[in-house]
């Protein structure tokens, strides 16, 4: 195969027209993974499993004909699972030395659902250990590099997933987004990333970071591809009790997008401000009304997030005792220790009211900002991050500086609302630019509709970074 297909649709077209077989697809991707090895985007490759699945798919297509393409919406789609997703029989590390040789006895709901839909698991992608980070540099398996420029970070925590899709090492990948861990790396790598509404995609079988914030989503090159994955993975599974089947909001004939003024002040990079403004004009041209809105508590989002999240982290990482599985607590890396310590502190006697309870109350105010905004608009258009990708090592010595990178993404997690990051060009120095659309809870179909409208209006064609 000379060229890999760039979308689920093109993959299935190629399979249907016999331009290539699923086995040949796996050949190509594994060769590309080998060639893109210096990106360090995968922790584990599962070639045996991938070939086995490809063979099943080739047989299925040979015997089942066209029908199988309707029955299996992800048939032939190669997947990189963030190494936080449990995969039965395949090592799952959370990119931490604590779990460096852990082999799960069961698979996450979303892994099973994507595999049952015809997806081919290629391997497990690198990430910040335990999903703690905004650059990928906190992985105990070494940092992932940005495929557009290897001196830069790919973003995090789902660093390997975003980088793998951007470099064409897999068709799609999964991620978790607790404070921006899907949208920010998608943005830094120039791919589409979806963070669904909290409680729509089950978290069962995914190593927990902060349980009131964790959201399970995906990366692809088009809005339509992450939409397909969303439809395959959503819905009750009988394990995650926060998931309840709910009717999703439908797009309206006439829609209004809000532009939050707090996202464009001070520290936001000029190229980003200009780019997002251009995106807003694209929507306006398509008959979408733009409205300036205010989310006044945005400036407190980082403080709320860095109290609530470490508190929940310290509780979730309490289970790693090195007895039932995994190595001892001495194997935790610096960032995990820092967050466990911070979380333990804000929950400890004497400090609970001043920090944790206070943060929960300010969280209510942040959420009220969104509720008020969505009375007036159907979606919000905003930058994903105040800067484009930054250099490896630039922030790794200063945790607080790194935490501030989450300023525009963490609010959506605190409010439990969905967000989608979409590429919108490149900076002068050839680093990806993008924007995010946020909507009220259960508004994914509105975000997909608007995202596709943008892609169509600008004639978006996915690009793959050279490896």
């Amino acid at each position: 195969m000379d060229k890999i297909p760039l979308t689920v649709k093109d993959t299935q077209k190629g399979l249907q027209e016999k331009t290539f077989s699923a086995t040949e697809l796996v050949d190509s991707y594994l060769a590309r993974i080998e060639r893109g090895k210096d990106l360090n985007s995968f922790i584990t490759i599962c070639d045996d499993e991938a070939y086995k699945k490809a063979k099943e798919i080739d047989n299925l297509i040979a015997s089942g004909g066209k029908e199988v393409f309707n029955k299996y919406p992800l048939i032939g789609a190669t997947i990189g699972f963030k190494d936080l997703f449990l995969t039965k029989g395949i090592r799952t590390t959370a990119a931490s030395k604590v779990l460096e040789s852990y082999i799960p006895s069961y698979s996450a709901t979303s892994v099973l659902r994507m595999e049952n839909a015809g997806g081919i698991t290629l391997g497990k992608t690198n990430c910040d250990a335990w999903a703690h980070g905004a650059s990928g540099e906190n992985s105990d398996f070494g940092p992932t590099k940005n495929p557009w420029n290897k001196e830069f970070v790919p973003g995090g925590s789902s660093s390997g997933s975003a980088a793998s899709v951007a470099a064409g090492l897999t068709l799609v990948a999964t991620g978790t987004d607790t404070g921006g861990s899907i949208r920010q790396p998608a943005n830094f790598c120039g791919v589409v990333g979806l963070k669904p509404t909290y409680g729509v995609v089950p978290r069962y079988g995914i190593i927990a970071m902060a349980s009131s914030l964790d959201s399970v989503g995906s990366f692809g090159r088009t809005v339509s591809d992450v939409e397909t994955i969303f439809n395959v993975t959503k819905g009750e599974d009988g394990h995650d009790s926060t998931v309840k089947d709910t009717e999703l909001l439908k797009p309206k004939a006439k829609m209004r997008i809000g532009i939050p003024k707090e996202y464009f002040v001070g520290g936001t990079d000029e190229e980003i401000v200009k780019n997002v403004m251009e995106v807003s004009k694209v929507f306006e041209k398509q008959g979408i009304e733009l409205k300036e809105i205010s989310l006044p508590h945005t400036k407190y989002a980082i403080s709320v997030y860095y109290i609530v999240q470490p508190a929940e982290v310290s509780s979730n990482l309490g289970r790693y005792d090195g007895i039932r599985y995994g190595n001892s607590r001495n194997s935790f890396g610096a960032e995990a220790k820092r967050r466990i310590m911070l979380g333990t502190y804000v929950l400890s006697a004497g400090y609970y009211d001043a920090y944790y309870l206070k943060a929960q109350k300010v969280r209510s105010r942040l959420n009220a900002d969104f509720e008020n905004a969505f009375k007036e608009v159907d979606a919000i258009l905003a930058p994903v991050s105040p800067t484009p990708a930054f250099k490896l090592g630039e922030k790794s010595e200063d945790p607080l500086k790194m935490y501030l990178a989450d300023i525009f993404t963490a609010p959506a997690n605190l409010a439990g609302i969905p967000g989608i990051a979409i590429p919108s060009g490149f900076t002068k120095s050839k680093l990806p630019l993008g924007f995010q659309l946020l909507g009220p809870r259960f508004s994914e179909p509105i975000l997909f509709e608007l995202g596709k409208l943008y892609e169509e209006s600008v004639g978006y064609k996915p690009e793959v970074a050279k490896i």
């Binding site: 852990y102 082999i103 006895s105 069961y106 909290y198 409680g199 009131s212 009988g238 394990h239 009790s241 926060t242 309840k244 508590h297 407190y300 980082i302 403080s303 709320v304 860095y306 109290i307 310290s314 309490g318 007895i323 039932r324 599985y325 995994g326 607590r329 001495n330 935790f332 610096a334 220790k337 820092r338 466990i340 310590m341 911070l342 333990t344 502190y345 804000v346 400890s348 001043a354 920090y355 309870l357 206070k358 943060a359 929960q360 109350k361 300010v362 969280r363 209510s364 105010r365 959420n367 945790p399 607080l400 935490y403 605190l414 409010a415 439990g416 609302i417 809870r441």
Partner: protein
């Protein structure tokens, strides 16, 4: 707000069951202090009469039938497959009570 002292850091580490090196203690004392100082800005926000938010779904008390489902349960062998430290099909743990300290 308050800065953390070395004593605070050692106390938290003990609560969190983390063993820290001297270098880590110094590093965390200064890093955690600056983070805690930063998030202390929340004291400026008026939260009078505001209810705390602990989750965003609004769901309460989700129930399921209390029954064992074979297909989603792990076998004993699977459950202990993550460690070599087993005894008669049980996890082996370190003693938590070692000798009496009251005598």
């Amino acid at each position: 707000m308050s800065k953390l002292t070395k004593t605070d850091v050692l106390h938290i580490a003990k609560l969190a069951k983390l063993e820290l090196t001297n270098k880590e203690i110094d590093k965390f004392t200064s890093q955690l202090s600056s983070i805690v100082e930063f998030v202390g800005e929340l004291s400026k926000v008026d939260t009078k009469d505001v209810e705390p938010t602990s989750q965003s779904t609004g769901l309460e008390d989700v129930y399921r039938a209390d029954e064992v489902k074979g297909e989603i349960s792990l076998t004993q062998e699977e459950a202990i497959s993550g460690t070599d430290e087993t005894y008669n099909g049980y996890f082996k743990v370190k003693a938590i009570l070692e000798g009496r300290t009251d005598k």
